[in-house]
């Protein structure tokens, strides 16, 4: 069970994000041709993807839990984490497009990773379409959970394997290990890793607020139902 209300991780999240925003703009970065100062976008673009994958992972985990013991609460958690992951994915695409506009010349370059990410988002949009098309609560939760797990496993090859097999303008393609081409020197690591952790915590925070909201709504509905009965 998530401890949703404790304060320490929220303050940690705020501190890390303030640090990464300030540090991201002020600290020294390596000079690379073409990329130049836009390399600072790394601090905001890449954590979005880390955050998205983490959110979808949690969502899948709770989908499995739902299928195992059929508690409606697990379904709520699963949905809200998928929601938050979707927001992160959209932000990741938008920040990536802004960055690409300055370094590659066009916002959409047909890069395999870009396409893979767009497909991954389509998968999760399809998840919400499926949930929307079912009216029975229990059935919606069950089929949604099944599709969620299936989609997650179908998505892994898309964003982790296929882009690495074809040539891409992202680092980590054509068999290169992920970050070596970035010259992610120690100075950048100092901002990058806190930013990743900070954004993941931020995602959990957003999701937890929405989960609590949904629980309250459920309780209000239940009480109204009992009164009327």
């Amino acid at each position: 069970m998530l401890n949703l209300k404790s304060i320490w991780w929220k303050s940690l999240c705020a501190l890390l994000l303030i640090y990464s925003v300030v540090g991201g703009f002020l600290m020294r970065v390596p000079r690379l041709s073409i990329v130049n100062e836009t390399i600072r976008a790394l601090y905001y673009h890449v954590p979005m993807w880390f955050g998205m994958v983490f959110m979808f992972l949690v969502s899948t985990w709770y989908a499995v839990k739902y299928l195992r013991n059929h508690r409606m609460d697990d379904d709520i958690i699963s949905v809200e984490f998928a929601n938050t992951g979707l927001v992160f994915g959209l932000l990741g695409i938008v920040t990536g497009m802004i960055w690409a506009n300055y370094t590659w010349g066009t916002p959409w370059h047909g890069d395999p990773k870009q396409n893979g990410a767009a497909i991954a988002l389509l998968v999760y949009f399809a998840y919400f379409v499926l949930r929307g098309s079912l009216s029975n609560d229990e059935q919606r939760a069950r089929l949604g959970a099944v599709y969620n797990i299936f989609a997650f496993f179908a998505m892994i090859p898309l964003i982790f394997i296929i882009p690495r097999m074809t040539s891409s303008m992202h680092p980590g393609s054509g068999g290169n290990p992920g970050f070596n081409m970035y010259d992610l020197d120690n100075n950048m690591r100092k901002v990058f890793y806190p930013a990743v952790i900070g954004w993941i915590l931020m995602g959990c925070w957003i999701a937890s607020l929405r989960i609590r909201l949904r629980r309250i709504e459920e309780r209000i509905l239940d009480e109204a139902y009992e009164k009327s009965a």
């Binding site: 299928l67 998968v123 399809a126 499926l130 089929l143 099944v146 299936f150």
Partner: protein, 217 residues
Amino acid sequence: MKELLFLQLKLEIRNQSILTSLFLYLVCLVFIIYLTIGNQPTSQSPAIWSALFWMTLLFTTVNTIAKSFIPYKPDSGPYMYSIVSAEQIILAKIFYGFVLNTLIGCIGFILFSTLLKNPIEDLWLFLGTLLLASYGFSASLTLLSGIASKANNNSVVMAVLSFPVIIGILLMVIKITRHASDGLEIAASYNELITIAAINILVTAVSYLLFPYIWRS
């Protein structure tokens, strides 16, 4: 298990309307492609050919597999539920879809090579790809068709659910087809072949684990 497979085959052969409508669908698609771009020089390039070929197959198989959970008799569901386990059903349906997809693929290939042209140089590699892709389509679409059938057999839901999931296989397959038509040696496509095989295994395993939860209701 075997009986289940044969039962499905027998029902399908007896119920000819589905099979014939399927082949008519395929023929119509290929003929439309032929009429619209058949005599343009661009359609002769292997890239366009393989894209069109696999798109045709994709649409036909989605339509096929979407029907795999429409019961033949309205009351046969509970009866099936009592005599076989969900795991057996999903495996039988996947295998049945595989056979059907391979058939569609072969007929589609013959139609494409007669109406348009046949750019494939390495036929064995292409046939191997066809087999792998048929299995991959079948394995990933059968579970989704099960989900869609619970959502009132809404064909839009089926399309929305399946297309994003299938794109990974489709991209790999189109790449191998281009290798096969450029006459590259097989070693050039090992990576893609292994990836498709791995996706197939993954998808089958996930379907096998998840299908009982759909079937239960």
